[in-house]
């Protein structure tokens, strides 16, 4: 029963320094190898910020990978090397600690986190700082859709359009800077720093573009900002990342069966010219020169995607086939009979201004409310509403 | 002290446990009051001025008198623990009632509508939360006074007389918590 016959060092001292060095190198290179997987996991880099953040992540993944290999390696080594052999009933070595070792494994992690903190601070300072010549866009989150507002002032008129050509009331709006163009999509162009100023109509949301690596909560009662600079043309999904209610998951950009982009997407054009000719100018022209015929104008508004109706409703005339909300084909005849004493036109008006007022049986109250006042989220001017209703009343059964 | 020596080991530990227990519980429970102070400070940080423009500030004179009464009740409570419990604690309870009535009057009259919504409601929550403690603990003290008047503590059994110290410490807690609130509500 003499325990001292078993020298405390006998189990561990058999490790030669060469093996320790080899294991150390294996751990470091293993960590670097793990770190090299970072680009495969993250979405493709599409913003200036994503390059810096991904480099930071890769660095952290390499260090984390090394620590992971060190701990698991030690664990597996101990489990194999120091398992009790059958019949061996003795106790382990009575070692209670080692001050030097404990000091080392306090200091090294402290150094590592210091380095990580300094690196993170430098990345953070450069990614969230204000950039020169930012494109400023207003964003409004509402359950469960996004609206992006672009200022249309005298300097941003489409080419070939002068103030003199405009109707007096529209001209006054442009000159006062009071005309905004709305879209469910966020458009910008390559290498253009964007600053999005965000408000919410109801609960908190979070604006996230995974491809840009940026995210910011929208806080009820506050205005928050987010900045990024896209570096690759393309389309990028915008996601709501803060629980906002039953339709939270639907608040991300999606693709319908025909391959059309529906709802919240960031579209990065090749150049400013492309941005203007493909997105901004047609939208601006439609706002500056509204068609006379309300039915034609209503069709134009809905087809433009300014309002996110296509993600939920079916309209064969426009190729919509959303599944969340009621089918709108032949809606006019049904709307006329839904509520006693209310015309189809009145019924549709209330259904858009206050979607919760009348629910079609079998459908939930998921539709955002479209408001009449400029500055409110999901702003839908009365002109637009009249035109949309006029168009909807013409829809026939397919 | 002699009385404590007559206790068994288990009884001594039980007595010690109660004393430690009250201290530990007080350390924990004061955090709710600290929390409400922080809530008050964060709410006011959203307003350019406090009280918000157009809202009348709370009167400070009566609450200051109430606070002094409450502090004085602490002094008499402590005197009661050392000497004439029945008389001193009756005075303390009387002062406590004066405090509670003054604060109740202000609680009722504070403006909680319109512009004063935040200013008034956070005041009401804090004062009401404190008042619940003052009333419950005052009630415990009153029970002690009744028993003391009957002579229940005459034998000096520490397991019985402990409640005197316990009730006193709870009352000190009420005072300390109020001083915290007084500073946040009326001074800062």
């Amino acid at each position: 029963m003499n325990l001292s016959t078993r020298s405390p060092g006998s189990a561990g001292s058999g490790i030669s320094p060469i093996w320790v060095v080899a294991a150390g190198l294996a751990i470091i290179f293993g960590g670097l190898l793990i770190g090299s997987f970072a680009p495969a996991i993250l979405p493709p880099q599409a913003s200036a910020e994503s390059r810096q953040i991904d480099a930071l992540f890769r660095f952290m993944l390499a260090i984390g990978g090394s620590i992971f290999l060190l701990v698991q390696g030690m664990l597996v080594y101990s489990v194999i090397r120091f398992r009790a052999k059958p019949g061996d009933a003795s106790d382990g070595a009575p070692i209670h600690g080692n001050t030097t070792l404990e000091f080392v494994w306090t200091i090294i992690p402290a150094i590592i986190v210091t380095v990580l903190a300094l690196y993170s601070v430098s990345v953070w300072n450069s990614t969230h700082s204000i950039k020169p010549n930012e494109q400023t866009v207003g964003a409004v989150g509402a359950r469960y859709a996004w609206t992006f507002n672009y200022q249309l002032d005298a300097r941003a008129l489409p080419s070939g359009v002068t103030l003199d050509q405009l109707e007096p009331n529209i001209r006054a709006a442009v000159e006062n800077g009071g005309l905004t163009l709305s879209s469910t999509q966020l458009h910008t162009w390559v290498n253009q720093p964007v600053a999005v100023s965000m408000n919410t109509q109801d609960v908190n949301h979070a604006f996230w573009i995974p491809g840009m690596r940026v995210k910011q909560d929208l806080l009820a009662g506050r205005t928050t900002e987010i900045r990024f600079t896209p570096i690759e043309a393309g389309v990028y999904r915008i996601v709501c990342a803060e629980l906002c209610g039953s339709g939270h998951g639907n608040m991300a950009g999606s693709v319908d069966v025909n391959g059309n982009l529906v709802g919240a997407w960031l579209i990065v054009h090749e150049s400013e010219d492309a941005f203007r000719s493909e997105f901004f100018d047609p939208l601006a022209r439609a706002a500056l020169f509204p068609p006379e015929d309300p039915v034609e104008r209503g069709r134009q508004i809905l087809a433009s995607g300014v309002y996110p109706c296509a993600s939920c409703h079916v309209v064969d005339d426009l190729g919509w086939n959303g599944a969340v909300g009621p089918n709108l084909n032949n809606v006019g005849s049904r709307a006329a009979t839904r509520v006693a004493g209310e015309s189809a036109e009145e019924y549709l008006r209330i259904s858009i201004r206050m979607p919760g007022a009348y629910l079609v049986p079998g459908y939930n109250n998921l539709m955002p409310q479209f408001n009449a006042e400029p500055g409110q989220p999901n702003y839908m001017p009365d002109d637009d509403l009249d035109a949309i209703i006029a168009y909807l009343l013409t829809l026939k059964t397919s | 002290m002699n009385a404590e020596h007559s206790l068994s080991r288990d009884e001594r530990i039980a007595l010690q446990n109660r004393k430690t227990g009250i201290t530990v519980f007080q350390i924990s429970w004061i955090m709710v009051f600290v929390c409400l102070c922080i809530v008050n400070l964060q709410i006011r940080s959203n307003f350019p001025s406090w009280p918000p423009a157009g809202v009348a500030a709370l009167d400070r004179i009566l609450p200051t008198i109430a606070t002094l009464a409450l502090i004085a009740s602490g002094v008499t409570t402590q005197r009661g623990v050392k000497g004439d419990l029945v008389t001193q604690w009756r005075i303390a309870l009387g002062l406590g009632i004066v405090f509670t009535l003054i604060m109740f009057a202000q609680w009722v009259t504070v403006d909680t509508g319109g512009l004063g919504a935040q200013y008034g409601t956070i005041f009401r929550v804090m004062v009401a939360y404190h008042a619940v403690h003052a009333v419950v603990i005052g009630w415990i003290m009153w029970g002690v006074v009744k028993k003391a008047a009957r002579g229940d503590y005459a034998d000096g059994n520490p397991l019985k007389t402990w409640i005197i110290e316990g009730a006193a410490r709870l009352w000190y807690f009420v005072i300390a918590a109020w001083v915290l609130f007084y500073i946040v509500l009326y001074i800062v």
């Binding site: 306090t106 609960v203 998951g249 | 430690t20 227990g21």
Partner: protein
């Protein structure tokens, strides 16, 4: 070393009253019964929360809504899953271990306040019922974090019940913590200073300090929430000058430390299990004990890292720094545990397997935790499946694996029966592998763009979600191996001796299960709870064996060598 002094061991008390099944359903003030009541109640809610998790994973098999009528139903599921698992499973389960073991480890007859102890427990069943009743009035749907205004202006009445339920659970938790601290301070046996306490007791001490200082903030936040919902105050309504960040600040001031409330006791369990089953003193006792306190203290300064996407940008960096500092004491613990294994004589009991599993999985949660502390990276993965993965590695790979290790370790003491080791090993292997495949792929999902708390997601994430769901179903089933093991072992398991694992802490120095008074007389603990490998420890353990019957771990000495223990040195 001619004479070996063996401390006085609690007298043999096999006779005397024992508790039966019926006591578990009644009000009783015995800490052992209360401990079992805690554990059984918590386990019931573990199954409830697990069933909710299975429904969540079923729904997520496809990118569209399948079994849920709408997103609201899904939101209710994960809200209650999270709340139940945290407040009705892990926290009360740890309180159960603490209640059962603390007086035994301290050689005491009971907790400092037995009546209060029972009261604290009996707050839990009504609170649990209150929470589940939410489904009759429109269950809470704002997540376990319940951010206003979603939880105030846009939620149904279940949200009020949810808040009231948490109020009760918070009170229970505070009363329990007061009891633990007073017991530890006043009721240690003669000869046991703070630095001779078992590390589990240290962990409970650190946990109780956190509960004491942090839970009142939960009470404050919930009070305001209930007032907003019921009385009509406007603290969280921006339209009336209220502030939605107010809730986030106060809630996280409690809820980040709450993570340590859940994981520190598991650290304590791990320290006991590793040392006993590796037959080796714990490496760096003081470092482990004090790092628990360090984690508890620094843990109060990091709450806003949960708000990196909502907090004012200027304040994000300070909270990043404090959050990263936490990694240092945690690292000390991990390396100390590895040092404990090194040069040990490791016995692969089920308890040890779960202990090793804890160590290897918790490390992943720790590494992803440091990554999450880094603001720029956090911004990308905030509120995504990366966070879901991280928190489950900490709370399942850490806390739940710790609970499992503790169950296999102390079940013989609690029940007087050994658990079946073969079923235990099967349970470990199935749990370990399915756990990894349930939660590891979620890192990748989050980084590549899948937010958390969604019932519908982009189709490109489906394949990984199917892997996760299938693994989670296996993980769910693996729990029943343990339940089956418990049932079978309770009926026909091998009888446990007083000290089956040859452990030095005091709870093993009385019969299994312990008598009503725990010990006869006042026991004197062995001077070092982790003194394995020394002659005197061996003599002490042999003396225990000769008094109570043989252990599962064999004695290093030939059976003939066991002599009756000499009386205590004085």
């Amino acid at each position: 070393m001619a004479t070996i002094s063996v401390p006085l061991i609690g007298g043999r008390a096999v006779e005397g009253k024992r508790f039966g099944i019926s006591d578990i359903l009644r009000w009783t003030v015995d800490h052992k019964v209360i401990g079992i009541q805690y554990m059984l109640t918590a386990s019931f809610f573990f199954i409830v929360g697990g069933a909710l998790a299975m429904l969540i994973r079923w729904e997520l098999l496809t990118p569209t809504l399948d079994i849920m009528a709408d997103g609201q139903q899904y939101n209710q599921l994960f809200s209650i899953h999270g709340t139940v698992m945290i407040f009705l499973w892990i926290v009360p389960m740890m309180a159960g271990f603490g209640n059962y073991l603390l007086p035994l480890m301290l050689g005491a007859k009971d907790m400092a306040f037995p009546w209060l102890n029972a009261f604290a427990f009996w707050l839990i069943p009504p609170a649990g019922i209150l929470m589940l009743m939410g489904w009759f009035v429109g269950q809470a749907e704002a997540g376990w974090t319940s951010y206003p205004p979603l939880s105030t202006l846009y939620s149904l009445d279940g949200q009020t019940l949810w808040a009231m339920s948490l109020h009760l659970l918070g009170l229970s938790s505070i009363l329990g913590a007061v009891n633990f601290i007073v017991t530890i301070k006043n009721m240690r046996p003669v000869g046991m200073g703070y630095f001779q306490m078992p590390l589990f007791v240290w962990a409970i001490l650190a946990t109780s300090i956190i509960i004491l200082m942090a839970t009142p903030f939960l009470a404050g936040a919930l009070t305001l929430l209930i007032l907003d919902r019921v009385v009509g105050t406007q603290f969280f309504n921006p339209a009336q000058g209220g502030d939605v960040l107010l809730w986030q600040n106060v809630f996280w001031f409690y809820s980040h430390p709450a993570v340590y409330i859940m994981v520190l006791p598991a650290f304590g369990i791990l320290s006991e299990v590793l040392s006993v089953h590796a037959r080796k003193p714990i490496f760096g006792y003081r470092a482990i004990a004090l790092s628990s306190l360090a984690i508890a203290l620094v843990g109060f300064t990091v709450w806003a890292h949960h708000m990196f996407t909502s907090l004012t940008p200027e304040l994000r960096i300070p909270f990043m720094i404090t959050s990263m500092i936490i990694a240092v004491p945690t690292g000390i613990k991990v390396f100390s545990w590895l040092g404990t294994l090194f040069m040990g004589k490791i016995r692969f009991t089920s308890a040890m397997l779960f202990g090793l599993g804890f160590l290897s999985m918790f490390v992943i949660g720790g590494i992803s935790g440091v990554m999450l502390a880094s603001v720029p990276y956090n911004i990308h993965v905030h509120d995504t499946y990366f966070v879901v993965s991280h928190l489950h590695f900490v709370l399942y790979g850490g806390s739940v694996f710790g609970i499992y290790a503790g169950l296999y370790h102390w079940f013989p003491k609690i029940s007087g029966r050994m658990l079946d080791e073969r079923l235990g090993r099967l349970h470990f292997i199935v749990t370990y592998i399915s756990f990894f495949f349930t939660f590891f792929p979620q890192h990748i999902l989050g980084m590549s763009g899948m937010p958390r708390r969604v019932a519908v997601y982009a189709p490109e994430y489906q394949s990984l979600n199917v892997v996760v769901s299938i693994a989670s179903f296996i993980l769910g089933i693996s729990t029943f191996i343990l339940i089956w093991n418990v049932i079978v072992s309770l009926r026909a398991g091998k009888r446990a001796s007083a000290n089956p694992w040859r452990a030095l802490t005091l709870e093993w120095a009385t019969s299994s299960p312990p008598p009503v008074t725990n010990f006869i007389g006042d026991p004197v603990p062995y001077r070092n709870p982790y003194g394995y490998g020394s002659e005197s420890a061996n003599a002490y353990l042999n003396a225990l064996e000769s008094a109570y019957g043989p252990s599962e771990h064999p004695s290093p000495d030939a059976p003939k060598a066991i002599k009756p223990a000499p009386a205590a040195g004085d």
